[in-house]
């Protein structure tokens, strides 16, 4: 049953990404390009997504998930070096191509060879990260 719910989650997620225009890289880059022809769409997508999600988080208080033992506990509110550096690297890639992980998968069927190569490069980066993180932590121990 959890597998079915996971599939439904991905389905709604993908449909939302397509309808909102977030698989169109020009809309993402248009939003990031404040000095160009600025496109505000992404802010509406974020707002539209955060509202139901915020209600859902409120609803978790004092309850249990339908098909799990407990809700995820909040992570420690620590702003680590990896969070800052990782997000900066991610943002640079996001700006360069206008794709992030969700839309990259959602647009695979119509994204052509470029979309496929992007996903392969992204998966390669994901596979390399655990090893990179170890080296990184050794070279520059977190304080």
């Amino acid at each position: 049953m959890r597998v079915v719910v996971s599939f439904l989650t991905g389905s709604l997620f993908g449909l939302g990404l397509l309808i909102s225009g977030m698989t169109d890289t020009t809309k993402v880059q248009g939003w990031l390009d404040v000095f160009g022809d600025w496109d505000p769409t992404l802010a509406f997508v974020m707002g539209g997504a955060i509202i139901p999600m915020a209600i859902a988080w409120r609803f978790t208080i004092g309850r249990k998930p339908v098909l799990a033992a407990a809700f995820p506990t909040p992570p420690e509110p620590r702003i680590g070096r990896n969070l800052v550096i990782g997000s900066t690297l991610f943002g640079a890639g996001w700006g360069l191509a206008g794709l992030c992980p969700g839309p990259a998968i959602a647009s695979l069927s119509y994204g052509g060879a470029g979309g496929l190569v992007f996903v392969i490069a992204m998966l390669t980066g994901m596979v390399l990260t655990p090893g990179l993180r170890v080296r990184f932590d050794r070279a520059l121990p977190a304080t």
Binding site: V4, T23, S87
Partner: protein, 141 residues
Amino acid sequence: MQQDWILGLIGGGLIGMAGALFLLVNGRVMGASGIIGGLVDGSGRSDWQERAALIAGLFIVPAIAAAAIGGSETNLTGNWVVIIAAGLLVGIGTRLANGCTSGHGVCGISRLSLRGIVATAFYIGAGGLTMVLFKHVLGVI
């Protein structure tokens, strides 16, 4: 276009409802990079079926919907160096930061997570600077 913000709001609402469903029923945070990354680096082996099912829905439903409306366009750059560099940066960055636009952005900000808010500020800032540098200064993208 004028209707873009309406479609953005509707599509965003669907994304938020997807996250709400995953949270309230499965008790999980809907973060695309974590779900995909855990599958490829082996850290999410214990629940691989759920991860694979989510990714399958994420791929199949837009494929059908796009085909039904006569196709969709990503307008991705044709510059292979940019595509590969961007893919690597997105893969490494999201895994190092433990989240992307869906996990830190949608799911993090909506629970007022400090980590989600800081991560979002950094990736939007870096994305904006990238546009300034690579579009307006260097003219690469």
